[in-house]
């Protein structure tokens, strides 16, 4: 037990138990659904995970700083539509440019949110609730309620979702899923080792102290929203590639899935703790639930309700279980011991 406590933190236990929960979910759904353990199921879930994960990485950064970005669904929708419209009009556009267009647009939208929250001092829930509606409104106006259709898009884009990164036995690891995993690895390493990124944790953990030791707190918040927007832009491109047909309703309500992924993944909604890796586990859990419930022919409304329930359960378990674990940890470990007999006796 002592060894366990020294080398493993309560937060890691939480991530591990989520992993167990995912395995349990797979086993349960596997017994309920015929032909569940196929590469088709895996790819369905993986491509859903890929998109949610990329957005959830950005959301994690925002939530770490004690904020929330509800506009991600609208940003994904806008960038998917805008990039799709550009590609439909200019078939010769190089893939790299198309990705950059999507990310730049997402970056700009995130920057507007970030500026209002960090420099305008408006609570993020208000700002992004507003921009959620505004961005969607702009999309409807810009699109004139037309749809980007699959047959108007260049062939490379339509083929992209089935592009393999690597094949392990029967399983095809698609490029888009590999990209999402790559982003998670990149940001996990970044947030663990880059001093600039550790500021997200510091800032969310104690904003007053961050201010007092001269951290650029506004820049930190601003950059979290910019990164969230940029990653949402990238996810918008992936969304376009996956579905091809983009309506003004694209990615509507995705913020619920993303926030659920982040919270279920153990990122503290009050900021300061949680990991990008956890958020990906959360995204996997949610994608499994979504796909499996779909296969079980449970209505979409119930799926949303279950997501909501999952958020509530995650937050409740955070409050109860994690605090309990932390209490056990600190009782046995964090005793202040002073060496006797040093310094002048009072």
């Amino acid at each position: 037990m002592r060894w366990l406590q020294r080398h493993i933190r309560p937060e890691q236990i939480r991530e591990f138990s989520l992993l167990l929960l995912i395995v349990a979910a797979v086993l349960i759904f596997g017994s309920m659904i015929d032909g569940y353990y196929t590469s088709r199921t895996f790819n369905r879930i993986a491509s859903s995970v890929a998109i949610i994960t990329v957005v959830a990485v950005g959301q994690t950064l925002v939530v770490l700083t004690r904020n929330i970005d509800l506009a991600v669904g609208s940003i994904v929708g806008c960038t998917a539509y805008f990039t799709g419209a550009q590609l439909a009009a200019h078939h010769g556009l190089p893939p790299v440019v198309a990705v950059l267009i999507a990310m730049a647009l997402g970056c700009a939208m995130g920057a507007i949110n970030g500026a209002l929250v960090a420099y305008g001092r408006v609570p993020s829930i208000i700002v992004t609730l507003g921009s959620l509606a505004i961005y969607r409104g702009i999309l409807i106006d810009y699109s004139g309620a037309r749809t980007v259709t699959t047959d108007s898009l260049p062939k490379w884009l339509i083929d992209l979702p089935r592009l393999n990164f690597i094949t392990i036995g029967d399983l095809d690891i698609r490029a888009m899923f590999a990209l999402a995993v790559g982003i998670v690895v990149l940001f996990q390493i970044g947030t663990s080792f880059l001093n600039v990124a550790r500021r997200f944790y510091a800032m969310g953990s104690n904003p007053d102290a961050a201010e007092l030791i001269g951290m650029p707190t506004r820049q930190i918040v601003f950059s979290a929203f910019v990164l969230s927007g940029t990653l949402s832009g990238l996810a918008g491109f992936m969304f376009l590639a996956r579905f091809g047909n983009i309506t003004v309703e694209a990615a509507r309500g995705m913020e619920l899935q993303v926030v659920a992924a982040v919270v279920v993944g153990g990122v503290n909604i009050f900021g300061g703790s949680g990991t990008v890796f956890g958020a990906m586990l959360g995204a996997i859990m949610i994608a499994i639930l979504e796909q499996s419930l779909f296969r079980l022919q449970i209505s979409e409304f119930w799926r949303d309700a279950i997501l909501g329930l999952l958020i509530l359960m995650a937050v409740a378990s955070d409050a109860v279980i994690l605090n309990r674990l932390r209490a056990i940890w600190s009782r046995t470990e964090l005793k202040l011991v002073t060496r006797p007999g040093t310094g002048a006796a009072p």
């Binding site: 080792f193 944790y201 102290a209 600190s330 002073t338 040093t342």
Partner: protein, 512 residues
């Protein structure tokens, strides 16, 4: 450097060139002149105590030193060279750091990261292994054993302050400002802290020590500076000052430490508590309170005194034992029930449990008994509400332009008075005061003490929980001493001395 009035020559450290000099510093906020022509010199290896009532300008001076505020006039010299401290980050580059009453740690970051968090130039990539090793060696040099990999969440206040000190050392501070670092520490923890502070002094750090606890100041300081109304009144070697002299400088008049309250006439028995316990927190607490009596609760921090108060008021109800009020037994399960029984509890935490800071003074005072102020339509009769607040303002001399002001805008002492008003307005029979004078200045303290005397004289039974031992001794008719959740003794009148109370609180055998 123009010597301020009453300033005497500094002590023998005068031979050492000063590390920090503040010359003719002035700062104004709106109509308030917070600082006026203040000149202060800090020398390496000196513990310099700063005394003054709340609002005397100590905090403003600290904030100017650390770069949070900019002075309107005056000059700051660091090792003889004039500097500007434009921000807190710049202050740290100059080697000036501050430790506050509530340490400013990042609860989710681990101990090592907290120590090194404000290092400006530690490269782009965190070398965790090296950081853990260096953090461990700094803590070891302080004689403190802490797991540097644990998050700071859950550390005791004393451990948190050790981390703050380690942080200061890692930054190679030349000037360390400690703003009331002992306010929430137990006696044992204060001793540990003082050992660390003396260590720092021997390493040549200049320490500016701000405290309201006189005996601590004289225990540790080499030099004592007193502020009053934004001016520096005196700077003297500690050996040449007595607490009475320092207090006289602070308030501008001679004044006894605490006036002993004249014992009031003891009325009939109001409260009888027998074998009260809350599982795992405290047990075996039995005492009586009579009308007009002040029962002091003494003990170290964490002895369970506040928990007894919370149990009596139903916030954290007792799990066993009996409570009798006016001869009738009651099981108190909620504050609402306690209030109905005539119990009021003035919490030690003004911000969290006590007051609604954005609300006006009058709204705060009427809050617990709002029903009394409702018209027949269920609307609040603000005129009456204000009249009550006005009455309390006169009675407790709350210093405010009007009672519609938000409580958050008042000074600590005046907030305390509003809180007292709020609970007196419930017309309690039993008043539980938990640390009623913590963090408020000497003048306001004396007023609160006078108020306690008056309330007892009116026949209210009072339980006074306080960590300020001279205060407990001066105000109480009897003193109940607790230690680690147990009742150690009830000492009455003459047998209660600082010696006997501390003996019981430390769990030592009583000398016969």
């Amino acid at each position: 450097m123009t010597p301020a009035t009453g300033q005497l020559r500094p002590i023998d450290t005068a031979a050492v060139p000063p590390v920090l000099e503040m010359r003719g510093i002035a700062k104004r906020f709106g109509a308030t002149q917070a600082l006026e022509d203040v000149s202060l010199t800090l020398r390496p290896g000196e513990i310099h105590a700063l005394l003054g009532e709340n609002g005397a300008g100590k905090s403003t001076l600290i904030k100017i030193m650390t770069g949070v505020y900019q002075p309107d006039r005056g000059e700051i010299r660091l090792a003889g060279k004039p500097v500007t401290v434009g921000s807190a980050a710049e202050g740290q580059i100059h080697g000036i750091a501050a430790i506050y009453q509530e340490p400013l740690l990042f609860p989710d970051l681990n101990v090592a990261e907290n120590i090194f968090v404000s290092h400006q130039n530690r490269g782009a990539v965190t070398n965790w292994r090296q950081m853990f090793r260096e953090a461990e060696s700094i803590l070891a040099s302080l004689g403190v054993a802490l797991d540097v990999r644990s998050p700071a969440r859950g550390l005791t206040l004393a451990a948190q302050q050790s981390v703050e000190i380690a942080k200061a050392i890692s930054l190679n501070v030349r000037v360390l400002i400690m703003d009331e670092p002992t306010a929430s520490l137990s006696a044992h923890e204060v001793a540990q802290l003082f050992r660390l502070v003396r260590d720092l002094r021997s390493k040549g750090v200049a320490i500016l020590f701000v405290s309201h606890r006189m005996e601590e100041v004289f225990q540790i300081a080499d030099t004592v500076t007193v502020f009053r109304d934004g001016r520096l009144i005196s700077t003297r070697p500690a050996a040449e000052v007595t607490p009475q002299k320092a207090i006289a400088d602070m308030v501008g008049r001679e004044m006894g430490l605490f006036q002993r309250r004249a014992a009031a006439k003891k009325g009939e028995k109001l409260l009888a508590v027998r074998g009260l316990a809350r599982a795992g927190v405290f047990e075996g607490v039995s005492f009586d309170v009579h009308r007009g009596e002040v029962l002091g609760f003494a003990g170290l921090i964490g002895a369970g005194r506040t928990d007894v108060g919370l149990a009596l008021f139903g916030i954290e109800p007792a799990t066993s034992g009996t409570i009798e009020l006016n001869g009738a037994a009651h099981v108190i399960r909620s504050p609402r029930q306690a209030m109905a029984l005539g119990i009021a509890y003035v919490s030690e935490d003004r911000r969290q449990l006590g007051l609604s800071l954005p609300m006006s003074i009058s709204a705060n005072i009427s809050l617990p008994v709002l029903a009394r102020y409702l018209s027949r339509l269920g609307l609040i009769r603000t005129g009456e509400e204000r009249a009550t607040a006005e009455a309390f303002r006169k009675r407790l001399s709350i210093r405010t332009p009007n009672v519609d002001l938000a409580v958050g805008k008042l000074s600590g002492g005046n907030q305390q008075k509003v809180m007292l008003s709020k609970w007196l307005n419930t017309r309690p029979a039993l008043l539980i005061l938990d640390e009623p004078t913590r963090g408020i200045d000497v003048g306001a303290k004396a007023e609160v003490h006078a108020m306690i005397g008056e309330l007892a004289a009116e026949g209210i039974g009072i339980i006074l929980i306080s960590s300020d031992l001279p205060e407990v001794l001066a105000m109480s008719d009897r003193v109940l001493v607790m230690r680690e959740g147990r009742q150690m003794a009830i000492l009455d009148g003459d047998s209660a001395t600082s010696q006997t109370v501390m003996t019981a609180a430390m769990g030592q055998e009583m000398a016969a």
